[in-house]
């Protein structure tokens, strides 16, 4: 039996088991902490910085998805300051690439778009970087539009941790970072891709999509395979 910790999030008393993250306990208690790189069932990397929370007594912000709970901790997940940070980080994602919702397959089904709406982010003050990037539509079933990729790397992780193919990885660094398949070759030429489609399923935006999906019809019904596989992994006792 694991130890149960009681602590507070946004003034609400909550409880969780040792080893759980702040994000997990918040989710269980209906407290919404945004996060675009977080996805249950794959390892967290704390990279999108949207789930940053304050913990009383610590001068630094911390990412809720990678912060383990402790007894008596006092977490602030929502404050004016945090919301401003989240809005700006989200704005950065928008200005980094070309997000044209109106012609996007994920329009109305997009986690980034939803987040912008939640944060009341309606226009951008930051200078746009938005380089014109390629679309790789060489795969038989799927395509990737790098213009819409936010580098959450869910695809990389799901491909590695769950499908076990490790077709996806990232290349270059900094602003030049792109997800890529095998040796940076066209997806359709990948010899490792199993065409399982998990990467498409987990993509929060319209970056990865099923070919043939028209604008706004890229509804990604989150199939339950991730939690299921998580259970399998746990039972295997990894």
């Amino acid at each position: 039996m694991s130890t149960v910790f009681t602590f507070r999030i946004d003034g609400k008393d909550v409880a969780g088991s040792e080893g759980q993250t702040v994000m997990e306990v918040a989710e269980e208690n209906g407290i919404d902490i945004p996060g675009l790189c977080h996805l249950e069932g794959i390892h967290d990397r704390g990279a999108c910085r949207l789930c940053m929370v304050e913990i009383a007594g610590s001068p630094k912000l911390t990412a809720a998805c990678v912060t383990k709970i402790t007894e008596g901790m006092d977490v602030t997940a929502h404050s004016e300051r945090l919301q401003e940070y989240r809005r700006t980080v989200t704005e950065m994602l928008f200005v980094e690439r070309n997000h044209v919702c109106a012609v996007c397959v994920a329009n109305d089904h997009c986690e980034l778009q939803d987040l912008a709406a939640d944060l009341e982010l309606t226009h951008f003050d930051l200078p746009r970087i938005s380089p014109k990037l390629d679309i790789d539509a060489s795969h038989r079933l799927f395509a990737i539009d790098h213009n819409r990729c936010i580098l959450c790397l869910r695809c990389v992780r799901v491909c590695d941790e769950i499908e076990g193919a490790h077709t996806w990885d990232v290349m270059h660094r900094g602003l030049e970072t792109r997800v890529q398949t095998d040796m940076g070759i066209p997806w359709g030429e990948s010899t490792t891709c199993t065409s399982c489609g998990k990467c498409v399923q987990v993509c929060p935006t319209g970056a990865l999509f099923e070919k043939g999906r028209a604008v706004a019809s890229g509804s990604k019904h989150q199939r339950p395979f991730l939690p299921w596989l998580k259970i399998v992994e746990e039972e295997r006792g990894r």
Binding site: V100, A102, Q113, E120, T122, H123
Partner: protein, 178 residues
């Protein structure tokens, strides 16, 4: 990101503008594929979510068309948001319009704001107060993004519209249109 979803539902009014927003019609118009020409869309998207304007009807469209006269006739206050090729990029100007039949342009598909007021008046006897808030354009090139100068004017335009509504809008329940 171009224009997001349709106007959101609003909760209780929170300001003088919200009180005055009843029977207010706000129309942003322009071509969203021609950079700054799409300004009306961007502004309308913001206004649609502004709690200070809850109760107002906010729409956006490519250009003004005659059937808008119907909507004009049902409003006591109409605010149009447009881009303008006159003036400095990003400069905001506000004009109050009088109804007037517009001569000579009867062969384009675009209807002038003044003609809409006149139509609403002629056909339904309505006399809405109409303002045009416009912003000087910097670029009308092909593209779906605003130029920085015009983008920066967005918050000020929103505030301007809110101020106009606060001053000239009538609380809901007291329409002037018949």
């Amino acid at each position: 990101m171009s224009v997001p979803a349709e106007p959101a539902d609003h909760n209780a009014p929170e300001s003088a503008a919200a009180d005055a927003a009843g029977n207010t019609l706000i129309v942003g118009y322009g071509n969203a594929l021609r950079s700054d020409d799409g300004f009306g869309w961007h502004a309308a998207a913001l206004l649609a979510q502004d709690p200070r304007l809850s109760g107002a009807r906010v729409t956006w469209q490519h250009q003004l068309t005659p059937e808008l006269a119907v909507d004009f006739s049902k409003a006591s206050l109409v605010v149009l948001i447009d881009i303008s090729v006159d003036g400095k990029a990003g400069d905001i100007s506000v004009r109050r319009l009088d109804p007037s039949p517009v001569a000579g342009s009867a062969w384009s598909h675009h209807t002038e704001p003044a003609a809409l007021i006149a139509l609403a008046g002629e056909l339904w006897g309505a006399t809405p107060t109409v303002f045009v808030v416009s912003v000087g354009a910097a670029s009308l090139e092909v593209g779906d993004e605003l130029s920085p100068a015009v983008e920066r004017a967005l918050p000020a335009v929103v505030d301007t519209v809110v101020a106009i509504v606060a001053e000239h809008g009538r609380p809901s329940g007291s329409p002037t249109a018949q």
